[in-house]
Symmetry: C2
Subunit: 229 residues, 2 copies
Amino acid sequence: MTPTSDPSDDPADGRTSGGARPARRGHRARRGEGQQLREDILDATEELLVAAGDEQAVSIRAVAEKVGRTSPAIYLHFDDKDSLVHAVCERLFDRLADRMDTALADIDDPVERVRAAGHAYVAFATEHPAAYRVLFMDRNDWTGHESTMEGLHDSVAFQSLYRNVVDAYDAGRFHGPGPELTSLALWMGMHGLASLLIAKPSFEWPEQEFLVDLLCEQSLRGLLHDEIG
Amino acid sequence: MTPTSDPSDDPADGRTSGGARPARRGHRARRGEGQQLREDILDATEELLVAAGDEQAVSIRAVAEKVGRTSPAIYLHFDDKDSLVHAVCERLFDRLADRMDTALADIDDPVERVRAAGHAYVAFATEHPAAYRVLFMDRNDWTGHESTMEGLHDSVAFQSLYRNVVDAYDAGRFHGPGPELTSLALWMGMHGLASLLIAKPSFEWPEQEFLVDLLCEQSLRGLLHDEIG
DNA sequence: GCGCTAAGTTAGCGTTGATAAGTTAGCGCC
DNA sequence: GGCGCTAACTTATCAACGCTAACTTAGCGC
């Protein structure tokens, strides 16, 4: 995770743990310590992005001020604003896998695992609306992965559902067009729900958990119809 | 010597049906004719929005130039860029209702009507990606309608599915949580599909029609399970 | 001490949405 | 026929943005 391979730690640097460091303007990083500033920039951007809730509201100048540098210094570490924001969001979304693992830890039934995965997915999306928007609602072609259905499997977002759908099929619980298409359809439903909640937060939606269950119910009834017939 | 500063007007950009009129700079509208320019501004903005495919790529200055005025003149007719773009998109989406009517004209079976409504909805969305993005994927609270579930019924987008779902329930074909929740879930699925197609156009998705059918199938199998059991 | 260069800075370009303040055309009215 | 009112517009400008060119300086090896 964090590149803590730096042996020469300078305690006189005045660093505080957590959040963007208070690096003073004019205090320049030592040779080879550029990577540290890179991390600080990511932290600062994430903070601003979460606070603003909108990519547009985050400016390079604001990020620079937060890390105690001037705006052109940012471009020493990132090609442009897009790649900076994108890096932040991908870093954020790497935590989705962990979130899934903890959410599904105590659940054995494959179908219940699918349902729980849907809940965790939507919950994660609405907890990180700005990141979700950047990665899945803004136009940018495609998020570092190959733009094919095979590439989709590398996406944590898709995987989180897919794996459990595969298990449900393997356990003989699902009857449908196969795990690939089933999880694609499920994912699209969950994405539709998540993106609407994010795009229209002031709309008086029914409870998020209720909506996830509603969507799951509607899909699962068809997939399970042999069981509940 | 810039060729674009030629004072003589471009005759080729003559008024075509639905296009922006070639109003010359300096020719000011007569008293009471401000509404005509307002329409011209809407036309010009729609043209630019469709051409660019992105709200961000449309600038007030470009709109002003297209209607032969200066940029502050736009603000005589619209509060700000947001309300201009929004007005354009709502005007565009008013055509969705007609689209639905023609798409469903020859279909009697209520369930098939729901399926066809889904197809028409997603098709309309992907044919007007910029407008769909502005209305349903960007953050703006909420599109002129009341932000309640009751207000959702005024939305053409929702109505287009809802009416047919009601019919399917009335015909005794659907068995589920009721037309309101069923159409909400169906709409969220269709929105998820449409918004992903729009957000990631370069992704090699399966065919759009196949995806709509896939989602319909997954939902309808549950709703219809008495019939196909 | 000398040079190299990573890591910055200062200054500024071009564009954007938006505003303040000035101007002009057209109409009613005496 | 001239006066004034005001709708409809322009000119000039602001502050903020992403981004770049060109310069500077700190720290390291030699």
